[in-house]
Subunit: 248 residues, 2 copies
């Protein structure tokens, strides 16, 4: 829970930290339609190519840290990223998980409000924040799109507030599984099994529980035949029942 992984060095030359070949350009990017880039026209995509830096990192890499100056915003192309804040005594609260298509930097903060760390192998598009800010000023439709993303982020946060403030362990776990399934469905990873790349500890820190409670609750849901636990994921057997649980 305390291991922060290697800190990203920002002064490295393009490509020297890479673990996979770069994507040639934005026009052929398979994540485009899912991401903020969907708001860009053909010509804009070409200019975008010049500022965007495609990067990939292994699990546990710290993309950026809470409190650090926000020099870049990111669009996730592949993998899972945990976003969290730490209390002085080490308690951790995961704010969210970013997956393919998600944008980090919606609020356009000067300083990062949370730490972002790769859960598994990830690929991201890194965009200098200053340049992106200029684009926003020049392209109202991009600004509008960003604001839509902000609205969605506000909704998700409020859902999480209700979950953390008023739901019990069983309701929290059920809601988490369903919402993660929903998000995976949007990015078209059609599969009966929901892959869960994050650890039980991550889930616990996301749901405001302990790892033991998460484990016990998953076992309980499995015992009740609502889900089946499989390697690196779970399968939902009774969606309706689970939804009823999740909604309180």
């Amino acid at each position: 829970m305390k291991s922060m992984g290697p800190i990203l060095q920002d002064n490295a030359k393009p490509g020297e930290r890479d673990h996979a070949p770069h994507i040639a350009n934005c026009s052929t990017c398979t994540t485009r339609h899912l991401s903020i880039c969907a708001a860009l026209g053909h010509e804009e995509l070409l200019t975008f190519d010049h500022v965007v830096q495609h990067r990939s990192f292994p699990a546990k890499t710290v993309l950026f840290e809470q409190g650090a100056k926000a020099d870049f915003v990111f669009s996730v192309s592949e993998g899972t990223i945990r976003l969290f804040r730490l209390l002085p005594d080490g308690r951790r609260q995961i704010i969210g998980f970013a997956i393919k298509g998600d944008f980090l930097g919606v609020a356009m903060d000067e300083v990062h409000e949370y730490t972002a760390e790769a859960v598994d192998y990830i690929r991201v598009c890194r965009i200098p924040r200053a340049g992106f800010a200029v684009m926003l000023d020049e392209k109202p439709h991009l600004m509008k799109k960003l604001h839509q993303l902000a609205g969605r982020e506000i909704h998700n946060s409020q859902d999480q507030i209700v979950l953390l403030g008023r739901k019990n362990a069983e309701e929290r776990v059920a809601a988490f599984l369903l919402s993660f399934r929903e998000r995976l469905a949007r990015i078209a990873t059609k599969s009966v099994t929901i892959p869960l790349p994050m650890s039980r500890q991550d889930i616990a820190d996301y749901l405001g529980l302990t790892i033991e409670t998460v484990s016990r609750t998953i076992s309980k849901l499995a015992r009740e035949k609502l889900i089946v636990v499989v390697p690196d994921g779970i399968r939902i057997l009774d969606v309706d029942h689970l939804m009823a649980l999740a909604d309180g």
Copy 2:
């Protein structure tokens, strides 16, 4: 906790539900510099006057309800509003309290994501959402301002997520008192005493606690001489100690 208060009728004639004289216009509005209107120039304020509807309502009035079509956005001029969501079985989670200068409708949702209910006597500026959307498209600086507000809302939500996910009762109450004090300070109600217009039940539903735990925790903080309980509010005696508590 279940009392919803009178539902607002939207088809009433201007003024017929009012409990205080209207504000003449936006140019003389004392809340302007605190609100989204601060982004508007002199001329824009004049056009704003034509679409803005000044209204006031007594305590417990429901401004709008979760799930209802969002025909208006609001700017709060006076009083306190609780924003909450209900679970099917009646559990309530207060998402936030809106005070003077706050804007309701940052996300520009089609449908309200929560219910808004007057805590005490309130005055608001009501703006048709469709018209406001047009203004946003025409005035990039207004859009930019709205997005800034969205960013702040995201931050506040994330703070609340950390509070609800990982803080104990004492830390929650301390954080609430300090953050409410901070917000009151911004609207220049300089006073050693922090007025708390909302009930203990409201505070409990905001902090994910029960009314008894809130009451006991406030008593405990008072016993430890960190605060003093006064009619309709509290006074902070030891800010530093309280901050250390609140931050975990």
